[in-house]
Every structure is written in C-alpha cells, then in structure tokens.
C-alpha cells in the first residue's frame, strides 16, 4: 500500500521536541570557537544627514575589538534595485533601523554597552513616511531618482482608458490599503562566519536559500563561489523575509575577514521589527464595472507599492498586476503599478508576495460590486468564475492558469459552513437589533507557485547497505519537506522511510539549488527527487537483469519488499537494493537531475470567514474559518494541513490585527513585540478544512504549492466578513487591520452619513 497520501508524523520532529533544533545561535562548532560578537548601530531617525561619527568611546570600552563605519567598508555596491543601499549608511540615513556602524566585541554581554557609546551626530531631514507623502514629492528621498517613483509599470499612472467604463450599468471603485506588516519569523535573523587559513569562508546563515546566499556573498566579497560554503542549519521560520543573504550577513562575512577571527550575529526582536524587510505595503484602487445581472465587464487595478527606503523587490507590484483578474473570466482588465520610495524599512517578499494584495483588492471589490447591485456575494462570484472547460485559461494580464474548479470549490465551502443557515441567523440577529453582529466573508482565490520559472536540483544515492540519501536544493525550514520527500522515495523505491535520509542546506553537499520561496519546494524539489529516482530505477533494472540473467524489460521492483524480481515469478530470485548497490559499485546507483517546469502552477481555493462584531466596542471576534485550498494531490496530509493552518493564522492576523505603523516623522510605533500585534492562540478559532484535489499536468507529481495559499485566501475572507457584519449599519468599507478603533470609527461615520 502506498504511503503517499497518508498521515505520516514528521521525521524532523524527534530532535525538535527533545533537544530543540540547532539554530544559528545554538551552533557550538569548533570553527566558531573564540568568535567575536557583532551588533549593528542603527539609525534612530527616519531621514537625516550624518554630520559625524565618533567611535573613540566605543573603541575604549571593555571588550571592543572593532567599530566599522561606511568609510571602512571596501565592498562593491549592493546589486539590488535602482538605488542600492550602502552597506553602512554613507552620509544620509533613510529609515529607522538602517545600519550605520558595526561593532565587534569579545563577549555578547558587551555588545549593547559598546553600541551605546558609538556617538553619531544627525542633522534631521523631513521624513517621507507614507505613500501619500512620497507621491506628493515635497521631499525627494534619493536625488538620483526623478521624484519618489522608482518604477512605473503598465498603464500607471496616466495611461488608463478614460472611457473604459462607458456603457457599464454599475461601476464601483474603492481604494484599499494593504497595510505594511512585519514577517517576524520567531527566530530573528542571525549568522556566523569563519574563514580558514587558506581563505575559504563558511557562513552559517538563517536563510531560505543557501545557494543564492553563496552567490551574493561570493560576488560581494570578490571571491569564487567555491571559496564560500553556506550552511543553513535549522531555520526558525522565514516567510519570504529570509530569502538569500541580507546585507548584514554579507557585511558580517566581510567583518570576519577584516577582524581575522570568526564572528557571530544574532538580531534582537526589536531590531528585527525595523531592520528586517517588511511585507505588503500597497495602496490599491480597484474599479469594477458591469451589469446588474452580476456580470463584470471591466476591471481596473491601480497599484502603488511602498518599496521603503531602498527598493529591493519591485517585482511585487508586477506580480499583483499579473494576478489582478483572480478566478474570474473578466473580458477586460487594465492594470498599472508604481513603486515609490519612502523613508521606511525596505519592503520585500512576505508569505504570498504580491498575490495576496491582488486577491485582497479583487475580492473586496467583488463584495462592493455585489453590495451595489444587491446580489449575494457568492452569487456574483458564480456568475463570473472561469469555467472548468476553459482551462488552460489565458488571462488578460498574461497568465495561463493550468487547472481549476473554482465554482465547485466555493460551493463545497459554503455547504460545509452551512452558508444559508448562517445568512438566516444573520437576518434574525439584525431584525432583533442584537449588539453582537454576525458577518460572513467569502474569498475565492487563485495564486501562482513556482512562479520564478527556475528549476531545482535533486540527487539520489543508494548505498551498499541498501539505505538511501536524497539531496535537495530546496531549503525547508518547518514545512516538513524532508518527510514528504522520504515518503515519495519510499513509495517509488520500496525502501522504508527510516532507511532514507534527506539532506539539504549545506552548499558543499548540495552545490546547486534555488531553495525555498514562492511555494515551490514540493512541486520543483519533489519533482527533481522523483526524476532522479526514476533514473536510478532505470539503471537498477538493467543491473538487476544482469544478476538474474533476464531481459531488463522482464524485471520489476517489488515495492512491498524493496526487491527486484523477474516479472510474474514471485518465488524466483530476488535482488535487494543492497545487493544491487554492491554489484553496481561506487556511485553507480546515483543520479542527480535539474528539474524545471518552465511554467508555474496555479493553486486555488475558497474561504468563508464568520465573525462577530461587538457594535458597541468595535471588537471583532473571528468565530469560524472554513477553507478549501486545492493544490493538487496531497503527499502528506499532516504537513499539508499544517501549511494551511499556518496560512490561515497569518492571513487572519493581517485582516484583524497586524500592522507595522509609522508616525508622520517616520518613527515606527510598533517596534517591539509588545506593540506589534502578533496574533496569539486566543484570537484564532479552530480551523475547518475542506478538501479537493485538482492536479496539474506541469510536473510529474501533479502537485501545486501550498505554502502561501491559505494566507492569500483568508485575509480578504476575514476582511469581507467584518464589513459584512456592519453593512446593515451603513458601513461600506474599512481598511485593515479591522481594529476595534477602526470599526468604531467606521460605525460612527456611517451613523453620521445616514
């Protein structure tokens, strides 16, 4: 019986639950003995000229080994973006948290003492702390840019067709703030570096992509990639914000070389909340035009991305434009985007990275359209869904969706939730004038996984004792990929799980790879390992045929027992993997492949959120979240559900609570975990999962990615539910997070207007 598709507890967990993982801070490697400790002195101001840095007091403090400032750093400019960030601030600081100096000390407890003694003189400049301020352009963040717009795509800002909505019976328009949030993986950033006497560097780095990190580090330091080894030990979450090597990690490697000793760095949480990249941070205006029968004819999405002080990820608004049509067969979609710079922390990928913003805009827009024509939001979606017979479906924005069952997904969710009964309860409560209002929110979504169109490496070695080692270029950090890959291989090779080891994260062991982001790991990394195993199987069949003196075509693998036999001769000679490996000799039962789909896949789903809103206080309670997330066949339901749960939690958190805020002067007001509303167990309900599996043909496993999907669906579902709860009181829209104050203010405004 196949193990694939069954609930298998994770091979990763044994150590994690008894001894804890080995994260960067936990490393006790010989090579790091006597390591210096590092701390970054960071800007306390959003925008200021540096008029002087006095390091003398710090240098005289106990245990201080070195203090580096911009003029010490002899590295080439950072490669990313139209205005590269200096490694250490050079003359001007442009966000609170920007690194200004790097201090090395003997012991960790000396770090903060020494950092306090680095005396930086600042001459404040006006802050540009919002998209509105950036577009107003009174203060220009970078002189080398023309204004504060770093990138303009598509029709933005002035290319939209003035007559696009002529002839529509109904047009609704809404500007929706997709607020800035902090990725906040529970393990903040960290790295440790050591150079050998021969000049080879090892970096232990909390990263999602060791091979990409190696490329960045080697390029910056001007050494060959083979002179750099990156090791991702256990990584305590990433959510897109640990892609590759951050500037701090590169600088640490440089400082280790400059200081001539190993160096380690562990970010504090308060540092992390302003110094690690943020996510989302878009202001989107969605316009929907159509007919009163529910048919949408034209959609426009105008995206403004707050890229922060130094744009690093201007692909985000582009991806938002690409996914603007969502799950609908809109005949006409026009989009445009601008990426603007502000004096805030740079914005980059965060779970979903560009797609949640598209879904949030279109799904909020569909609800507004439904409200305008007085149709149930579920019905409006049904009228416009792409039909199953239309796949592969090419959207007006240029994506080609592989497969989908959008109407079926929504109907299953509504049935599971008891949608009609909930609507009846809502009506009853409203007519009774209850203080606690009930709200239902729907979101239907499609997203894109493996969207970078790159590939992934996979390698299999079968050893002489019959055990198997698999190497993947993916770099899992909590997803349970090692278990999923072992399950696939166990199935394919007939080798028990406990005889299979999955290796990843060390560039000396896995020199080629891309790593983990964009929900790509199973579909690309899994397919690569599958393909490598196929190659081994083909070779093994030939070798087994030799041993039993039969034709290769007559040989088959008895997967129950992990033995090769002549087809139809169950009592005949059986060749074990061990015997085969012995016979084959060194490396003969090994294969390494590079798997590439060339084209991404498009998971989809539908979510229904049920909220209760206290109309006196404005407090929102999320009562139910019913979710269908279809990513094709499921390898390990346990891990698959875990990914969905995590996404539902994080997506709900954005709708309800989380926001990284700045005041007008660009000071962050949510810079500790006491102020940043990280969601806890008490704010979330039990999740209700509904299953459906629609395979893709774009990889041999038929799978799509699941890492980000539930985040994408849940945010607008919960957001829509809050607005729905208040709709009978005249509230048409309010922005996220739907905090009590916001809800109360929206109700007060609606009362005044009515």
């Amino acid at each position: 019986m196949s193990i694939v598709g069954t609930r298998v507890v994770r091979v990763e967990d044994g150590t994690l639950i008894t001894a804890g993982g080995t994260y960067v801070e936990d490393l006790r490697e010989e090579a790091l003995a006597g390591a210096a400790h590092a701390v970054f002195v960071r800007s306390p101001l959003a925008h200021a000229r540096i008029t002087g840095i006095d390091t003398s007091a710090a240098l005289a403090a106990p245990g201080v080994l070195a203090v580096f400032t911009a003029s010490d750093v002899d590295l080439p400019a950072q490669p990313a973006g139209p205005v590269p960030q200096p490694w250490l601030a050079d003359g001007v600081v442009r966000y609170v948290g920007e690194p200004v100096a790097l201090v090395l000390t003997e012991r960790r407890y000396q770090l903060a003492d020494a950092a306090e003694l680095v005396d930086v003189d600042y001459d404040p400049l006006p802050a540009v702390a919002s998209i509105e301020a950036a577009l107003a352009g009174e203060t220009v963040v970078h002189a080398e840019l023309d204004g504060n717009v770093a990138q303009a795509n598509g029709l933005a800002p002035d290319g939209f067709d003035d007559n696009a909505f002529d002839g529509c019976e109904v047009v609704v328009e809404q500007t929706i703030v997709n607020q800035r949030v902090a990725p906040a993986p529970l393990e903040a950033r960290g790295s440790a570096c050591a150079w050998t006497a021969e000049g080879r560097l090892t970096c232990w780095l909390s990263t999602q992509n060791p091979q990409i990190a190696r490329m960045s580090v080697a390029a910056a330091l001007g050494i060959g990639e083979d002179e750099v080894r990156i090791v991702a030990p256990d990584v305590g979450g990433g959510f897109g914000a640990k892609i590759g090597a951050d500037p701090e990690a590169v600088l640490l490697a440089w400082a280790s070389r400059a200081a001539g000793r190993p160096v380690r760095w562990a970010e504090t949480r308060s540092e992390n909340l302003t110094a690690m990249t943020h996510g989302r941070a878009q202001r989107n205006t969605v316009t929907i035009g159509g007919r009163r029968d529910g048919t949408v004819e034209v959609v426009r999405l105008d995206v403004v991305q707050d890229a922060g002080a130094y744009p690093r990820a201007l692909f985000l608004p582009t991806l938002t434009e690409l996914m603007a049509p969502g799950v609908y067969r809109f005949p006409r979609v026009e989009t445009g985007s601008r990426g603007v710079v502000t004096t805030t922390t740079p914005v980059a990928a965060y779970r979903g990275a560009g797609r949640p913003e598209a879904t949030a805009a279109i799904e909020r827009g569909m609800d507004l359209f439904a409200a305008e024509i007085g149709m149930d939001p579920a019905e409006v979606r049904r009228v416009n869904f792409i039909r199953p017979d239309q796949f592969p479906y090419r959207t007006p924005t240029g994506a080609t969706y592989d497969s989908g069952e959008y109407a079926a997904a929504l109907d299953k969710v509504l049935a599971a939730a008891g949608y009609d009964e909930l609507r009846a309860e809502q009506a009853a409560r409203r007519s009774a004038g209850e203080v606690i209002a009930l709200g239902l929110g729907i979101a239907a979504y499609v997203e894109i996984t493996g969207g970078d169109a790159g590939g992934e490496s996979g390698r299999i070695d079968i050893h002489r004792d019959g055990s198997v080692t698999a190497y993947t270029g993916s770099s899992p950090h909590g997803q349970g990929l090692a278990t999923s890959l072992a399950m696939l291989l166990s199935d394919q090779l007939g080798v028990p799980m406990d005889r299979i080891t999955v290796r990843h994260g060390d560039t000396d062991e896995v020199p080629r790879g891309i790593g983990t982001f964009g929900s790509r790991s199973l579909q690309l990394g899994g397919s690569a390992v599958r393909q490598a195993a196929d190659e081994v199987l083909a070779r093994a069949a030939g070798l087994a045929a030799e041993l039993v003196e039969a034709a290769p075509d007559d040989i088959e693998l008895d997967r129950e027992n992990g033995q090769w036999r002549v087809r139809g001769a169950p009592a005949g000679p059986a060749i074990t993997w061990a015997r085969l490996a012995e016979h084959a000799g060194d490396d003969a039962l090994s294969a390494g492949v590079w798997f590439s789909e060339g084209t991404p896949t498009f998971p989809f789903g539908a979510h229904l959120a049920v909220v209760e809103v206290d109309t006196q206080t404005g407090k929102v309670e999320l009562r139910r979240l019913v979710a269908l997330d279809d990513a094709g066949p499921v390898v390990n339901p346990l891990a698959f559900e875990g990914q969905r749960h995590g996404g539902l939690g994080q997506g709900s958190a954005q709708a309800l609570l989380e926001v990284m805020s700045y005041d007008e002067d660009g000071n962050p007001t949510t810079a500790t975990l006491a102020d940043y509303s990280f969601i806890s167990a008490t704010e979330l309900p039990d999740f209700e999962l509904v299953d459906m599996e629609t395979p893709t043909t774009r990889n041999p496993l038929g799978v799509k990615g699941i890492g980000e999907a539930a985040t994408i669906g849940s945010t607008p579902a919960v957001h829509n539910a809050v607005v729905d709860a208040l709709s009978h009181l005249g509230v048409r829209h309010l922005d996220m997070p739907t905090t009590p104050l916001r809800v109360w203010q929206a109700l007060a405004r609606a009362r005044k207007e009515s």
Binding site: L111, A112, T617, L657, S661, S677, S680, E683
Partner: protein, 270 residues
C-alpha cells in the same frame, strides 16, 4: 537584549532591604517579580545601578484575614492571588483581576506589590485595589506607614514612596458577598487594557482613563442618588483625561469607559 550593568543585592529581611535602599538612595530599585522592571532594563529604558532583590522574603507572600481586613503580602504573585481561597471569599474582585494580568508565565512571577509600586496607569490591579478602598502598608527607616490607595497613585509611574521605603502589605476591607464586575478591553488577550473598569459594590474605578487609576466619581455619585445603572454608567468618563494613542483616541476611550462601566455594573448587580 541585555540590561546595563548593575550591582545585585539580596535582602534577607525587610529591615535589611530598607537599609540597602537607604544606602543607595535613588540609584537603587527594588526587584520583586521583576516583570515590570526587567523588560524596561532590557530595552535600556531604565538603568538602576543597584537592584535589591526581595524575592526571598517569603513572609511577604501570603494572604490572611485580620479583623475586618484582608492582608495581602506584597510579594504575593498574581497566580497565588488568583487561586487564594481567602481572597476569593472576601475580595473576589482582586482574585479575579489577578487572573487577568499578563499570561500564565507572567502570573507565576509577577507580584501585586511590584505592580502597584510601578504605578502604570494601564495596570489592572491598581484600579482593582483602588475600587476596593485598599491601603498600602510601607516600611521605611522610620517604621511603618499606611497610605490609602486613593493617595498612592500620583501620576504615571509616580507614587509617594521614598527611595528607602518598601511596600510590604496591601490591606483591603473584607467584603464577602459583595457583587463585583471587571471589564478589560484589549485587542489581544496578552495586551494591556485599552480601557478597563473594576466594580465592587457601588465602587467603580477605571484603568487607563488618566495618568493614574481613577474612581468614576460621577458614576458613583449617581448610583448613590439612585440612578439606573445605565444612567450612572453614562457618566463614567466625566472628569477623566485619557491619553490619545494610535490605537485608541481620547474620544474612543471615553466611549469605552461608558460601555464597559455599564457592563461591569450589570455584572456586579447580577
């Protein structure tokens, strides 16, 4: 993050603690549960040169009845108070509120004395002790003195305690059978109250509606004059001066005070 350097002293008795505080004056801070002080020190928002640890003074970790009073040792931890049978009978509001502070781990360490002396206007127990007409017993070089809760909270993080004085006990009148209500409004369970209301009998005090916990005097007066609960609650924000914050405007806080007072009064009456 790591606190700035300090000298750690451990007191074996109240007298020794007072003597140590007298020796170091303003430089010293008392360390009890540490859950108000250490987070500030880790963020380097506070950097006392000396910490006088009174955690070992087990005599200050108990609740007992003394005549018409309930006497609560200042080192009683929130978790102790939440489960204390004497408190549950005679000052159930305090027992309940102690279980609403922070989270499980914080309640295992945080002390009532530490919370009161810290005098955070957002603290739950300060308002509850104020509603209970409690008094704070303080030891100093001149001996003991008793400060009514109504005179103890002078402003945000400000009390009449001298640098060489130590809070040792909190006394509240035993009021078995008195109805009580407590409303703590926050975004997440672990957040501090945006606004809170503590009611025992017809005493009403408010959390975070001024620089100190305050009694809702207009509400109390209306109740004494026989107003309905709803009418009395509508006066809850009178005379308050809540601060404006990004997540809570002044007007919103006033509104919440009225709504929550109505709910707490109903619970106390019910």
């Amino acid at each position: 993050m790591i606190p700035a350097r300090f000298t750690y002293l451990r007191a074996a008795s109240v007298d020794e603690a007072v003597a140590m505080l007298g020796q170091y004056g303003d430089e010293a801070k008392v360390l009890a549960g540490g859950h108000s002080l250490l987070p500030l020190m880790k963020l380097r928002l506070a950097a006392p040169g000396v910490l006088v640890d009174i955690t070992p003074l087990d005599g200050l970790r108990q609740v007992r009845q003394e005549g018409g009073d309930i006497v609560i040792g200042a080192l009683s931890r929130f978790h102790d108070l939440h489960g204390d049978p004497v408190l549950a009978e005679h000052a159930p509001l305090l027992a309940h509120v102690a279980g609403e502070v922070g989270d499980q781990q914080v309640r295992h360490r945080g002390t009532i004395g530490g919370s009161l002396v810290h005098a955070d206007p957002a603290a739950d127990l300060s308002a509850a002790v104020l509603a209970c007409d409690g008094a704070l017993v303080v030891s100093g070089p001149q001996g003991r003195r008793e400060i009514p809760a109504a005179e103890f909270f002078l402003g945000p993080f400000t009390t009449p305690l001298e640098p060489d004085e130590l809070l040792t006990e909190i006394r509240v009148p035993a009021r078995a059978g008195t109805g009580w209500g407590f409303e703590k409004f926050r975004r997440r369970a672990i957040d501090w109250a945006i606004v809170g209301v503590a009611v025992t009998g017809t005493s009403v005090s408010l959390i975070n509606m001024a620089g100190t916990p305050v009694r809702a005097t207009a509400t109390e007066r209306a109740l004494a004059e026989g107003a309905s609960l709803a009418d009395a609650a509508a006066l809850a924000a009178e005379g308050t001066s809540p601060v404006e914050e990004p997540h809570a405007s002044t007007e919103y806080r006033r509104h919440l005070a009225r709504v929550l007072t109505a709910r707490a009064l109903e619970r106390a009456a019910g």
